[in-house]
């Protein structure tokens, strides 16, 4: 019995040229292991993992080489067996062209696994399962690389209404989820079943854009085989960005999750289909996340999907697809939201769903930017119901507070606005700029607040120390005064008792004796001197006095 899922849709969106056919003609191929792997330690949202290996160490395939830094972090693993050449700064697959800590491994070609054993999550506590997934390095493979273990938490209610699996894959050129669903539908759904059990979700909705009939058919067949009535495969209309998590949740359930809130609080959680497969591998096969499917497309002779080990250079990967000679750039991700790479020699990481090869012909430089004419096209296509041109005015003028009032942070940077803009304004660039400025300011503000607190505490402490010192001094002087006062009182005592008189007399006598003894003792070397000697001493003394006199001004200067 198949209930027809009611669809809700979302506002806006565009229909760019999808260009997906080229890379789906051939099945997934395993990319050959390269001669060197550069595995960045920081491949997920959250704290950068701490390296567990050093140069010279031998590592096995799947061995943990970076340990999660706290709970909001995710481990990284060696993609194959070999020797660690170094733990060093290497160029990152990031627009900035900056470097970060990477573990460089020279594979030994034996591809020797660490011991793998399935994880019995039914026997383990939810926390233990989450820790296991964190240490298995499972993160969201849709591109955001948010640690999955943090999302496998049912939230306030303790159980979930709907688990959404995102197979929409709306970005042009990218087909890695499409081929995954076609070829590995059964394990994928087993991963989904694990997640459903962990979240205690009552149903699983797999949203797939209706331009992927093969994937829909494959998953439907797999669902039938799994005989799980709670899993529904839903075709959603093909419209970019249907694969945005919030847009897909809205399309499938009608629920709009506001920015900055947890979707679990609305009874729904969304994972990429690739993540479901990774969870299956981690739990049922005991394999950590060490590779993923990557689409290589664009300006290449043969576009295709590859199973790629993390750390493989994009250059090696692209070389498999015979790039055309006019290639001028490598983009990680799709043409709408992807990022240009600073070089083709950057590693494939967990976030790399697609390596898009570009050229001037394929992605011509935009015509010169014209002023905004407020035509409102951007607002018509914005899937977050924003007024992009208003945010643009304020971002451009660096009036960030106003930009935030127009909900800048609800922007998902999908690029629809820039895609339709008749004035060819790089709108998303303005939003990225404004967002990173606001973030930086927030960090600065926090630092300043902390500095203020510490400064004020220091002043307080200094004041307290001063007071303590003063009190101590006062106490000391008070004690001194008391003594003096006591002595005075003693002196002023009019008469002494006879015993006291006797005592004093004794003391006085003793002092007298001591004085007399002291007077008798002379320094030996100056006693019994001849007159010549005495004259000599006098002459020396005179010279000394003279020298002292001469030295006086110098001494003063020195002082």
């Amino acid at each position: 019995m198949n209930v027809v899922q009611k669809l809700f849709g979302f506002h806006g969106g565009v229909k760019p040229n999808y260009n997906k056919e080229a890379s789906t003609r051939l099945p997934i191929a395993a990319a050959p292991a390269p001669t060197r792997l550069v595995i960045p330690l920081h491949q997920s949202i959250g704290g950068p993992p701490r390296p567990l290996v050093k140069a010279g160490d031998r590592v096995l395939k799947g061995q943990r080489i970076g340990d999660a830094d706290g709970d909001v972090s995710s481990a990284v693993h060696a993609s194959t067996s070999g020797t660690v050449i170094g733990v060093e700064m290497r160029l990152m697959p990031h627009t900035s062209g900056l470097s970060a800590m990477c573990v460089v491994i020279e594979p030994d070609g034996r591809d020797e696994w660490v011991e793998r054993k399935p994880f019995d999550f039914r026997a383990a506590t939810p926390t233990a399962t989450r820790d296991y997934l964190r240490d298995a390095g499972v993160v969201g493979l849709g591109g955001a690389v948010f640690p999955s273990h943090l999302k496998l938490n049912a939230g306030k209610q303790g159980r979930l209404d709907t688990l959404v699996l995102n197979g929409a894959e709306c970005e042009p050129f990218i087909t890695c989820d499409d081929v995954l669903m076609r070829e590995r539908a059964d394990p994928l759904l087993r991963g989904a079943a694990i997640m459903r059990e962990m979240l205690e979700a009552s149903r699983v909705l797999v949203g797939i854009e209706d331009n992927k009939p093969e994937a829909i058919a494959a998953l439907e067949a797999a669902a039938k085989r799994a005989n799980d009535a709670s899993i529904q495969i839903v075709a959603v209309p093909t419209r970019y960005p249907a694969g945005g998590a919030k847009q897909l949740i809205r399309a499938l359930t009608g629920i709009e999750v506001p920015h900055g809130e947890r979707s679990t609080d609305y009874g729904v959680q969304c994972f990429n289909v690739g993540t479901a497969y990774a969870i299956y591998e981690a739990i049922e096969l005991g394999q950590p996340l060490i590779s993923r499917i990557v689409t290589v497309a664009g300006n290449v002779g043969q576009a295709r999907n590859y199973q790629v080990l993390f750390g493989t250079s994009m250059r090696d990967l692209v070389a498999l697809c015979s790039p055309l000679p006019d290639t001028d750039r490598i983009i990680m991700g799709g043409p709408m939201m992807g990022f240009r790479m600073p070089s083709d020699d950057v590693p494939v990481v967990k976030a790399t769903n697609c390596v898009l090869v570009g050229s001037q012909k394929l992605f011509p430089p935009p015509p010169p930017e014209m002023p905004c004419i407020r035509c409102g096209e951007c607002a018509k296509v914005c899937p977050a119901d924003l007024q992009p041109f208003e945010m643009y005015w304020f971002a451009r003028a660096r009036i960030f507070g106003k930009a935030q009032e127009y909900h800048l942070f609800d922007c998902i940077e999908c690029g629809c606005c820039a895609y339709v803009c008749p004035s060819r304004i790089p709108l998303v660039d303005y939003y990225r700029f404004a967002k990173s400025e606001i973030w930086a300011r927030e960090v600065e503000k926090e630092a300043a607040d902390e500095a203020r607190d510490r400064y004020e505490f220091r002043l307080l402490r200094e004041e307290r120390e001063k007071q303590e010192k003063a009190a101590k001094l006062a106490a000391k002087t008070a004690a001194g005064r008391e003594k003096a006062a006591a002595a005075l009182a003693e002196a002023e005592k009019p008469a002494r008792t006879p015993e006291e008189e006797a005592k004093h007399a004794l003391i006085a006598a003793a002092l007298e004796r001591a004085k007399a003894q002291k007077d008798q003792v002379h320094p030996e070397n100056t006693g019994n001197l001849t007159p010549e000697q005495q004259a000599e001493i006098a002459a020396i003394e005179a010279r000394r006095a003279e020298i002292r006199e001469q030295a006086k001004p110098h001494l003063r200067q020195d002082d």
Partner: protein, 187 residues
């Protein structure tokens, strides 16, 4: 004529009384302006402005005793914010108070440090730890980059290290507006 004068005088008295009453009745305790100015200042506590800390400088600005352009760490942006808050004219950073530098943190060369504690006493935010005759070190996260620890050091073992740009703190640049010169287009 007389009527008009009387009316105006009456108006003045009534309004004056109302204002006077309001001033007493709705008196604001403390000085929120100082707080607002202090919130804009970068809290480096470096004293480059000529005041012994950010708060005293804020108080001086509020009283009109100091210009708004005396804070090098706050930079042009800080001056703009102060100008906006106070409704004053923007002025470029006053050169006698210093120049705007990229943010840096102090680093103690641990080989050279003799453990004299002079820098510890100079640090306005207690960001240096150590004890007499023991090596000192700077807690980089809490260092404001004020440079106050540099002059007291007898062995010159403290240097200012600019904070390097990393993938985490990298910022998207302002989109460059491509305007082709008129002559080029016409040609």
């Amino acid at each position: 004529m007389l009527d008009a004068l009387l009316v105006m005088a009456l108006g003045a008295i009534v309004l004056g009384a109302a204002l006077g009453y309001a001033a007493v009745r709705f008196r604001v305790e403390g000085d929120p302006l100082v707080e607002k100015i202090d919130a804009i200042l970068p809290q480096t506590q470096c004293g480059q402005c000529g005041f012994p800390g950010c708060k005293p400088y804020a108080q001086a600005i509020a009283k009109g005793e100091a210009e708004i352009n005396q804070c090098p760490p706050g930079g042009e942006e800080g001056i703009h914010k102060l100008a906006d808050l106070l409704g004053r004219e923007f002025k470029p950073l006053s050169a006698e108070h210093g120049v705007e530098k990229p943010k840096a943190v102090a680093l103690i060369d641990e080989q050279t440090c003799i453990g004299c504690t002079l820098c510890i006493q100079a640090c306005p935010v207690d960001a240096i730890v150590g004890a007499a005759k023991q090596m000192h070190t700077v807690i980089a996260d809490q260092c404001t980059g004020c440079e106050l620890c540099l002059p007291p050091c007898p062995v010159n073992c403290i240097t200012m290290e600019p904070i390097p740009e990393s993938v985490e703190n990298w910022k998207w640049k302002y989109p460059v507006v491509k305007i082709v010169p008129a002559s080029k287009v016409a040609a």
